[in-house]
Homo-oligomer: 231 residues x 2
DNA sequence: AAAAAACTGGACTATTTGGTCAGGAATATG
DNA sequence: CATATTCCTGACCAAATAGTCCAGTTTTTT
């Protein structure tokens, strides 16, 4: 996972945030972009637990420890904050998931995918939930991203998986459905955290819990695809 | 699935809706409980697409084709509507999922569970999304339900699965994780509908799509548990 | 050191919100 | 028919909301 991805020029920008007037573009000005980050962190917490519509700018400001008008100085309106967050999430997503080639080993590749995705759920549960909410609400902001970048991403991987199947390197399962399966089962540990914790009678996750869950998923899914579990 | 579950006395009630004054309890009065249903249907649509906080009573009223004050006559406040919906969802959930016994066949039982859950996602996607939102938001209303009824439900099933494992009737996998897996992967088709449709370049699901997905899940998950896929 | 730019925050506003209420219509009951 | 009960509704309100405005303060640049 690349860390400094703030100014990755390769990253596609989301559709332009709805601007009112031209307004002052907040430039990378010195040290006080710390505020910017604080605001975004606060906004992520608030949006991911209540959704866009139910979150008030005041709540974000309070959590960031700044007066409301100051928040609105950095992001001229609520939507802009939301767009900025979505953009960040999609950027991280793009950074994390490397390419796959037909000559790679199916088992280790899929296992690696599960692992990375689980790590994502563990370290960025808020982002995961924010994404989930956006999708459940009909993806008003990300709709285009879904049907372009993400669609292509899935179809490329699906084609490689299909090749693995055709060359007899794994069982015959629908590649796209397989990706859905990995996606949903890993996402679940972030999005439905409360449910899982309640069922497992725990107060919080440990790293070990995630490792256990990742191993479980790897075993079942790989075996389900007629693959030997690596290592 | 029992249809007339309106007055099932066995159904546990959710914690008492926050009542202001004693207020007129809307009695099963004659024919005009049609309105009640219309309101609930409208509320389900609105809540499930925007969450509780971002939905306005006016929107519900508009969708139900009634004046706001009339809506508030049936449900004295917004929370009451939400509680009523949650109650309905949990009731349906309880109705649908029958018991499992150690002497049942693991493969057909698990396959049946996947099938029923998928059917639920297909026929009640709004309810599914509403539930998902409630959980993502920290389950403010359902928290108790999760850590009592649902926890017990899962643990009972997990124990049966464990017996199947101990008697060598299926592979050794963590039963609770297995239930999470089935839950998440089936839920996904309702909650992340937009994402799936975008990726698969479709406008809407067909019954066939669901059948295909259900078969895929059954195959992979059962095989992943070292089971033969029935029929 | 002075000018320019970036930042801060209190006061303000137009609009929207959940919810109340008093009275009107419809229906049932005598 | 009268009258009591149930059902319905427009008008209303206090609270909250997103966003503006601007006078001042701090930081950066020159």
């Amino acid at each position: 996972m690349t860390e400094q991805n703030k100014s990755d020029p390769s990253r596609q920008q989301l559709s332009p945030p709805p601007s009112g007037q031209p307004k002052v573009k907040v430039r990378p000005g010195r040290i006080r972009q710390r505020n910017r980050e604080q605001i975004l962190a606060a906004a992520e917490k608030e949006f991911s637990s209540k959704g866009f519509g139910a979150t008030t700018v005041q709540q974000i400001a309070d959590r960031a420890g700044l007066p409301k008008s100051n928040v609105l100085y950095y992001f001229s309106n609520k939507k802009r904050m939301y767009y900025a967050l979505m953009d960040g999430i999609m950027g991280r997503w793009n950074d994390v998931f490397s390419n796959v080639r037909p000559e790679d080993d199916p088992a280790t590749t899929l296992a690696g995918f599960i692992q990375v995705k689980m790590e994502m759920s563990r370290t960025h549960p808020l982002a995961s939930r924010l994404f989930a909410m956006e999708i459940i609400q009909g993806a008003p902001v990300l709709k285009e991203y879904l049907s372009t970048s993400m669609k292509d991403w899935v179809r490329e991987r699906a084609m490689v998986i299909q090749q693995w199947i055709d060359t007899g390197r794994m069982g015959n399962v629908d590649p796209v459905q397989l990706i859905h399966l990995i996606w949903s089962s890993t996402q679940h540990y972030a999005d439905f955290q409360v449910q899982i914790l309640a069922i497992e009678e725990k107060e919080a996750y440990t790293k070990k819990d995630f490792k256990h869950a990742a191993e479980f998923l790897t075993q079942v899914i790989l075996r389900g695809c007629g693959l030997e579990v690596p290592e």
